[in-house]
Amino acid sequence: MKKRTMKVLALFLSMLLVLGTLSACKSKEPEEKPATSTETPDTSKETETPKKEETPSTEEKATEEPTSTTELPRNETLYFGGQQWGAVNGWNPLGDNNNNAMALSSSGSGSRTVMFETLYMYNFLDGSMTPLLADGDYQWNDNMTEITVKINSAAKWSDGTPVTADDVAYTYETCVKIGNNAGNANKLYIDTITAVDPSTVVIKAVLNEEGKAANPLMLVNFLGSFYIAQKDWIQKVEARNNNDPTAIKNDPGEDVVYSGPYGKYYADDQKVVFIRNDEYWGKDPSMWGKLPTPKYLAHAIYADNAASETAFKAGEIDVNQQFIPNIQDLWLKEGLPISTYIDEPPYGICVNMPTAFYNLDKPVLQEVAVRKAIAIAVDYDAIIANAMTGQSPSFQEVPRSIMNPTEAEQSTYDHEAVKHLQWVGNDIEGANKLLDEAGIVDTNGDGIREYNGENISLVAACPNGWTDWQASMEIVAAAGKNIGIEITTQFPDADTYQTTVTSAKQLDYDIFMMWTDSASPVQPWGRLRYLMSNEFNGLDNNWSGNYGHYSNDRVQELIKLIPTETDPAKLKEYYTEAVEIYLTDIPSFSLMYRPDKFHAVNESVWTGFPEQGDGLNIPPADCTDGYGIAALYHITPIE
């Protein structure tokens, strides 16, 4: 009896073992990571509006499109990666929940103009504005309260009717009326937009007490970020939704009329495909003079970064917006036909500065000494070398400030004046000394300093699956260990994380990472406001910045003074003062520099992508954002 039991037991146990092993194998494959991974989140949203991730509207997408589109001719299709995660919800330029990255990505650093177009195209390489729907440069009036924009007479909607000034005025009016993101972001600065005649638009600024424009920079920003929709179509949408703002915003807009070179061809939960509109008005000599080369733009929807990276290496993605660790190995070691805009580190144009915010609602972090000690103890070189695998300039090369590494922003402040405040990190000794002097010491000898009799124990957080951010937080935590402050990392899922940090008050995370504004016409003012303005304190669903709830009256004055200041010397003085305050008070500290969009190309099928020094001045913006879309007119299929 016993023998048999033993046998059966042995069998059971071995089966258990086998099953265990099998389940081990299985669970390793589908990584349970949110798809967002290291996708650079849509940064530079100069908006007060929340970016909610709502579930798709219940009506399924209309099943009108043929399914025979799965076979696209490879040499006529440009494949994208790293932009679209999850199925598209809609095509409505008035809506906020389209989850349609390829068609609708409005941003100050250059809106994506594949399907819908803006008046101008922003180029973050030189800050220039190239007319798109507009004709020629915009004109300020003498006291800078109004901008006049001419509409290109060649511009046509996809139904063949011309784009008029009325369309611009009506789109803006509707956006403000229904209170969507675009409307809310601009209504504080733009009073009215009127169509003087069918081809002339006048944009009037909101005036401050002194009768000046409240913020002229935001008007320029508007020109490059605001999508224009057709008045007739908007009225149709309003009519079918009985003028209900929420219903209008949630309208899927399958019948939308657009002005861009591509329209919807096919979309499901596997991929999104755009087809070229061969009647696109841009082939007019006053604009591009020809059609963009690829007949189709396609974006397959991948489960996660790893899947997307594998597809990119296999040549199934041509243009990829994704952080790939040690990307240089793809061409140096594996010999793949993959390139980035620059052939050397940092491989891209870094315009963003992912930053660790201190939660100033926490008493211990109200101590400047603690904030400074942690900030100077962090090994930034390790973050840049190991977390970013060298894809960022170091803080020796670009000393810290509130400006991004571009020449245009670096020249806005006096480097010498703040030199004594700019730390490069890994200064354990200095940090320890600072804490000792502040009287924050370890009295009970457990290796952890106390504050008000309690061990200082902080939580450093960032979303799970955002690989380089997670690694950065680990390095911050390691710094804490060296200076007697316990820092533990926490990686919640992205939704939970973002809901927490954008709330009016939270005590869950003490040090947490967020991106900052990238390049745009309002920078570096926008970033100053983003990092330090107290106007967002106490607001729930605050996506506009200063997540640590810092407050400083002088900073508020500067935020008000800078936009209307036209004297360059004075401006430099203000910016220098702002940097000085930022580096003295340390409400947050940047951990790295980063491109707004990662831009890597695989030239298995297409070639002729923008590269540094090619003289074309096309920014590496995934061939779609702002003036980056010019790349679509230069690429050619490989021979």
Binding site: M6, A10, E309, K333, I475, K481
Partner: protein, 416 residues
């Protein structure tokens, strides 16, 4: 007892498993003595450095030199910069820019290099050539220039006052240093990981943690399983039904799912290595309970047990002296298997990001997790994940081998 142990050590399977296990243990405890220091220290400022010895270039300059004239040094140097594929690629470029084919001889190095020097111009964009390819030529050209330009490299220091460069030393291509003489060097048998940490040091520390997790989890699981199994089997009746009800409940819910839920539930800040071990322990006791129970059922009506009962011995005494010894060998075997499965469970949990906190202790699963996150498997950084797999495999292999050996000794049907 002595006899049993002797018997056990006569089983070749057990001895093999035991030796592997002991060797691993010795390495785990001896290596940190030879190479002390924090296993989580980020020494490297570049991710995934290859295994090998790294000598300080800075110190090498000041190290005593020996002049050696190796016959094929130049050849090797050139081969390093100019492989056969490079030669073919150079030919392609020359052809694409209009050099007639008969002029190009890729076997004649001097001729090829001269031709290249004359003709190559980075600003030319041959038609149809990709950016990736052009960048490749630029790099090749820089490499060749470096290889050919000078046979002497000048070391200079920057004058702190006026910023000019002062020549301090020259390095000839025939100078060599003994790597032992270089003041600073580090031997990284398994390279570094994505954080620039020494993989071997980390691995040793991680294996220790994983073993500890296995031991704690295994003991807890066995203890719970044993207690429940003994009580249910011996007492029978309502208590048996009740315990079996709970056990079945735990059995039908897949243990790993339960593990994920609990780990997620307690949150990362609470998840130290010990907590994870406890969680694994309390979710994996069911099979032990079931099998102990069935064994006890077969034992409880034996004559010696009945005799004890008649003698009025207490429940605890009967269980401990009359039943437990009979299943002790089985319990030891179950414990070994539990340890092995617990180590695997930790690895799985950490792989999906639910393991212990990263900064405190390294564990095998965490090492796998980070190397996955940094695409070590697709980029071919084998040293970051393969040794981890190997050590997991070895530990569970040795434990299972020991188990089979024990089975052979204690299971009469298997006895030789």
């Amino acid at each position: 007892m002595k006899n049993t142990i002797r018997q056990i050590f006569h089983s070749p399977k057990f001895v093999a498993g035991f030796s592997i296990f002991v060797i691993i243990l010795i390495i785990l405890f001896v290596y940190p003595l030879i190479n002390p220091g924090d296993p989580l220290q980020m020494i490297g400022l570049s991710s995934f450095s290859k295994p090998g010895t790294y000598v300080s270039v800075y110190d090498a300059i000041d190290t005593e030199k020996a002049i050696m004239k190796l016959p094929n040094a130049d050849e090797k140097r050139l081969q390093n910069k100019l492989s056969d594929e490079d030669r073919i690629a150079m030919k392609e470029w020359l052809l694409a820019t209009g050099t007639p084919e008969e002029e190009i001889d890729i076997t004649d190095t001097d001729h090829l290099l001269k031709l290249w020097k004359d003709k190559y111009d980075p600003s030319i964009k041959p038609k149809g050539m990709t950016m990736a390819k052009r960048n490749y030529y630029k790099r090749l050209n820089t490499n060749l220039e470096k290889a050919l330009d000078a046979n002497e490299v000048v070391i200079a220091t920057r004058n702190t006052e006026d910023g000019t460069l002062d020549e301090t030393k020259t390095v000839k291509d025939t100078e060599y240093v003994n790597t032992k003489d270089v003041v600073n060097s580090i031997y990284l048998p398994l390279g570094t990981d994505n954080f620039g940490r020494d993989v071997l040091k980390e691995l040793v520390s991680a294996a220790k943690t994983s073993l500890r997790i296995g031991l704690i989890a295994g003991s807890i699981a066995t203890l719970i399983g044993l207690t429940f199994g003994l009580l249910a089997g011996y007492l029978g009746g309502f208590i048996d039904d009740f315990i079996m009800f709970i056990t079945n409940l735990f059995t039908v819910i897949p243990g790993f799912i339960l593990l994920i839920l609990i780990s997620y539930g307690i949150g990362q800040e609470q998840r130290g290595a010990t907590t994870v071990a406890i969680v694994i322990g309390v979710t994996s006791w069911t099979w032990t309970a079931r099998s102990v129970r069935s064994q006890v059922i077969s034992l409880r009506n034996r004559d010696h047990v009945n005799l004890s009962k008649l003698s009025g011995h207490s429940l605890a005494r009967i269980i401990l002296t009359d039943i437990l010894p009979y299943i002790a060998s089985y319990v030891v075997m179950a414990l070994i298997l539990q340890i092995s499965t617990a180590i695997l469970a930790e690895a799985q949990l950490s792989m999906i990001g639910l393991g212990p906190k990263t900064t405190e202790v390294p564990t095998l699963g965490l090492m796998m997790n980070w190397s996955m996150l940094y695409s070590a498997h697709t980029h071919g950084y084998w040293w970051a994940y393969f040794p981890v797999l190997l050590i997991i495999a070895l530990i569970s292999f040795s434990l299972n081998l020991m188990n089979t050996g024990l089975d052979q000794v204690f299971n009469p049907t298997l006895r030789d």
